[in-house]
Symmetry: C2
Subunit: 195 residues, 2 copies
Amino acid sequence: MEQVIIKQDKKTLILNTTLRLLSKNGFHGTPISMIAENASIGAGTIYRYFKNKEELINELFIEIKKRIINAMYEGYDETADYETRFRVLWVNMINYYNDNPTEFVFIEQHRYAPYVSTLTRAESNRILSPVLLFFLEGKKNKYIKHLPLYTIIGLIYGPIITMVKLHLDHNKNLTSIQINKAAEACWDAVKCNNK
Amino acid sequence: MEQVIIKQDKKTLILNTTLRLLSKNGFHGTPISMIAENASIGAGTIYRYFKNKEELINELFIEIKKRIINAMYEGYDETADYETRFRVLWVNMINYYNDNPTEFVFIEQHRYAPYVSTLTRAESNRILSPVLLFFLEGKKNKYIKHLPLYTIIGLIYGPIITMVKLHLDHNKNLTSIQINKAAEACWDAVKCNNK
DNA sequence: AATAAAGGAATGAATGTTCATTCCGTCTGC
DNA sequence: GCAGACGGAATGAACATTCATTCCTTTATT
């Protein structure tokens, strides 16, 4: 039993170290040896926990996707009206990215990377599905405009990505005032006018 | 004189081949040897035109940024009203990405890549500056909401990126109806209501 | 005009480096 | 004292880059 716990700890250590280094240096800028050194373990040890480098990344990818979705639903009240729920989700997500830049950079860097497997991408979509359902609900009930799903995602998710990227790149932090104003503008983009 | 022309042609050949391969395989998936083979030239030849692989990428990056900005201003009428000009720019840009997926993928893949130098990024900002001025003009004259510049860019540029990515990833093409509706929604996000 | 010499361009095999991964000797907890 | 965990040197593949050589175009010479 204790072994399992120790194992878990070491695995987590590897994952955390990998996340930190990958976000800074990218996939090919972080050799296994570097991960090992930074985690103060032997290079070979990593292969006790992960079949190879790709699998390590893929596992990390799924792990972080889960954390993001979790964070999004913090304080989410199913019974609230649509716009309120929208804003909770939107603000939670941008806050999470803003507060966890390593995870943001990692997810963005690897979303379309060739070594993120089809399997991982499928799993990642599965994790995302409650959010998609939320959009479909809004369309059906005419809370939001009648637009193709991808357009809606683009209008809502696109600004989050770009805003966080810009601020990261310029070493600035998003303030909650900025975030709330942006959430409002985003809502203006998708809200249904003829309701 | 003829030498110069031949030189240019070969350089262009290398750049085009590199773009095609990089978009498909990414930086580390396309060895110099592969570029050489696909361009039907010797590997060493590439080093006659570019100091090293990084410089090749950097030059390509700037070249493509220029093409994009050029495409944006196609049919742009300086005397038209603000919303009209906004829509021309927006639609031109998303159309360009939609029609030139290799260039889109390349730019997106490399925007934050570590081997894209600070210099390249500065140059790329310089190329972008007319667009920034356009936003400032809109803010000053209250055509668009009073929001921080990065928020505005996020609201306008973010959806373009995300929409194109989604459609590319699912092998679909954006229709002009979709594009125009999205442009409208985007305008709803940033337009000033109390004017 | 024909031929030769020069010089730049192109080549791709050779080199040296950088990794991912493996392997085996050592250590640890029971 | 042994079974599994660990470390890190060893291995070999992949790659960027170099450079001695060849090829081709231009220029000079007769």
